[in-house]
Symmetry: C3
Subunit: 341 residues, 3 copies
């Protein structure tokens, strides 16, 4: 697959500077690129590398054009245009439609046109698979799942009963969707299971990273709105709702019945308590501990940074005595006030 | 499936108030319920919604009966009775016994009556599966596993060699039990594997959430006592012992050879060090960092709550200087004392 | 399998003390061992138990020999020799070569001599599997993976396209290698996928714990050098590089493009930010929050230890006000200085 600079300019609605007939057949990083590759400059700190790049063209902002010795595509958003160009040069291979002979597909399942069901995958009763969907090897779709058009499940994925996925959803390996939430009632010191009766509903254009888990609702459903992007090993508990176009980095956990707004940027490894409301446009730092609702957009962080062990030991002991330190400051202030009077 | 209020009252040993012939066919939440549904009031803060509920009946405590305009089941434990009623109205469908033709079952495995082995599942040599057990699709039971009666493995679960599960155990998808613990011996700067020779033994009525991992013992076994409930994505290292009826929320990690008492409530996202003893009846907050044994029952927490980024930056820098702040307070106190004298 | 003390002494290059003909057929812990078992003393705190052990022999340091009433193997590194002896007494069963009839192996895949491919495993086009490799049940190797000699994949493992594993690598169940990294470009409030074009390359003698995930590189590769040991549920993002012989405990997450040095000891549950450099020989405590590069070898920790809930509540509120406390100390110092003058 190769394009001329002029082709790419037209396909990405960017301004081409330099030789329009220059042939581009791959993407690469600023420092690694060689002839035939196109690269990009998004981080202005890397500007000084422009001179040395051997790339055939660079995607960059107008303000960096002067520093670029060769061909360029000029845009306000180099990262986005790079993503577009990388997709053009590396199209996802169209799958051959068909059901692998080792797949087990219920006679009551409905498969759209152009679907692929991989080896060892199990499609249970009453599932409905949209046109052109791809189900890779060794997946398990329990009864009555609904999969939208052009949705892609990689391999080794379980969708529990009644899971609903939108269109163009991408699910990476090892993901579990719709498993029972952690719902328990106690009697004395023992615990009894509360049946988890809802399901998981996932909007269009959602992407879910490897080994992430999303529980079904207890009553009502767990919902990911359109355009949500989840990284690997995220835990989404029952009845969570994640607003449209929110992105969450790896290893974050979200407790039950919490609602996260739209356009948030979260994690990784954040821990968000249950029954909370997180506003739209909230950014949360890594390892954040969220125990209360966040009502205002903004950037929030918690935790303490690493320090050498012996210093940390003193800081952490004093953290436990912060109340005592505050009392001593109070007393000193009182002494000074009475000394002044 | 439907019951009259009188039926439900009898089956749950609760007092029915109102029309005993009222028909109930489903459960729902206080606000969503409509005619035919039963709901419950456990959180007194929601009492004001009682008036507006369209549910056919409400499960509640005697003290809230006056606020309830319609039918009721009266009990000291509405959550538990709700769980019971939800189970009655949504019974787990009995599985059809049998071995799917694509399952691979060793001739030396022993299967009890009424077992189901799903498509693509592999039951290795010398496994013993109890009566009425259910093994869903694409599970891997390595050699010599023992599964108790009525135990249920959902899908895509691996049990390594010699794993022992009790009766009525529920394992959700993606769980790995009995994989090697992280046992290494160093020589110079290199690491050598210490063979992990124990197994995992899990008691009756345990439930284990999606993608949780439980390692086998190094010498001796990793043990979960009866009634333990684990949420999703929990990591249990080699030779951990978890006491009966302890519940652990998602994303918690427990390091090797630690013993957790009975009736504890832990997590989520707690990190518990190795070779520790946690007493019975300990409650641990989310994201807790446990580096020492906890000898007394009670509630323990660590970490700091989120705050806006700029404020956090100052707090976190000062945390690293807490030792210096304490020294300055000491000095001020000394100055005041010498000033007084 | 059994050995005499003399045999073991020769095979491990240790000094045998006591009866050279003593028969040893298993390993066990100091307190549990009975006749026929060999045990070891690595932790000097357990020295007092030496007298009571019923083991047929103890692996120990010369300095503890006087406290040992029976047979011994003397070495400077009892843990390592214990690992060696445990391996001798518990050899990994050689697998029978062959392809299970339910495995699905592409005709373009190349399998070395002595390989085993388990039931339900899928080996896609152009994979190359080295001699004596073992692929357990229900694994998915996507196209063009390369597996070194004597490498062992347990069960339920996905390797995405072009994953490269070295020799003698051990992969535990549920591991996902080579899945897409979390690479997104934004336009306005929406996110677009950046194609992830690199792969994962893993060196010789690496071991990877259950349900760990390792993403492919965006441009260029994600790399684990030889001898790296990862515990369970670790998340390694795109373009991370982990130096040789580094060990990482469970539940740790490493963000994209971070380089971790050689011979590090990390975690568990540490959260390491993106685009950082961690020097060789760094040790990181559990739950550490690493937001900046670490340039010097040493031991680093962050976080605060658990304390009883009410005390923690005051400490955590004061942490958020640390800036204010510091201001008040400043003011007191100023008052004292002006009082002195």
């Amino acid at each position: 697959m190769s394009y001329t600079l002029a082709n790419l300019s037209e396909l990405t609605a960017t301004e081409a500077v330099g030789d329009p007939d220059c042939e581009i057949d791959r993407v690469d990083s600023l420092m690694q690129a060689t002839e035939g590759a196109i690269t990009f400059l998004a981080d202005p700190k890397l500007k000084q590398h422009l001179k040395q790049t051997r790339a055939s063209a660079v995607i960059l902002k107008k303000e960096h054009l002067d520093s670029c010795p060769g061909n360029a595509l000029v845009t306000e958003n180099p990262s986005l245009v790079f993503a577009q160009v990388a997709s053009l040069l590396n199209p996802v291979a169209a799958h051959e439609p068909g059901i692998h002979p080792t797949a087990v597909v219920s006679t009551s399942a409905t498969l759209g046109e152009g679907c692929y069901i991989g080896p060892g995958s199990v499609i249970d009763d009453d599932c409905v698979i949209g046109n052109n969907a791809y189900i890779g090897p060794n997946c398990c779709l329990h009864a009555a799942c609904v999969i939208g058009e052009d949705t892609r499940l990689n391999s080794q994925i379980t969708l529990c009963e009644k899971t609903v996925l939108g269109k163009r959803v991408i699910i990476h390996p090892g993901v579990i969707i719709g498993s029972d939430g952690f719902g328990l009632a106690s009697e004395g010191d023992k615990w009894f299971k509360i049946p988890q009766l809802g399901c998981v509903r996932i909007g269009d254009d959602v992407e879910i990273g490897a080994n992430t888990t999303i529980d079904c609702g207890a009553l009502g459903d767990t919902i990911l709105e359109e355009g949500v992007k989840l990284d690997n090993q995220i835990q989404v508990a029952h009845n969570v709702r994640i607003g449209a176009h929110t992105v969450i980095a790896g290893c974050t956990g979200i407790s039950g019945s919490t609602t996260i707004g739209k356009f948030c940027k979260i994690g990784g490894a954040a821990a968000i308590g249950g029954h909370l409301q997180i506003a739209d446009h909230v950014t949360l730092g890594g390892l954040s501990r969220v125990g209360q609702s966040i009502e205002k957009a903004g950037t929030y962080v918690s935790g303490t940074p690493v320090q050498p062990y012996r210093k940390w030991l003193r800081s952490s002991v004093l953290f436990k005595k912060l109340g005592e330190l505050a009392d001593r400051i109070n007393k000193l202030e009182e002494q000074n006030r009475s000394g002044e009077s």
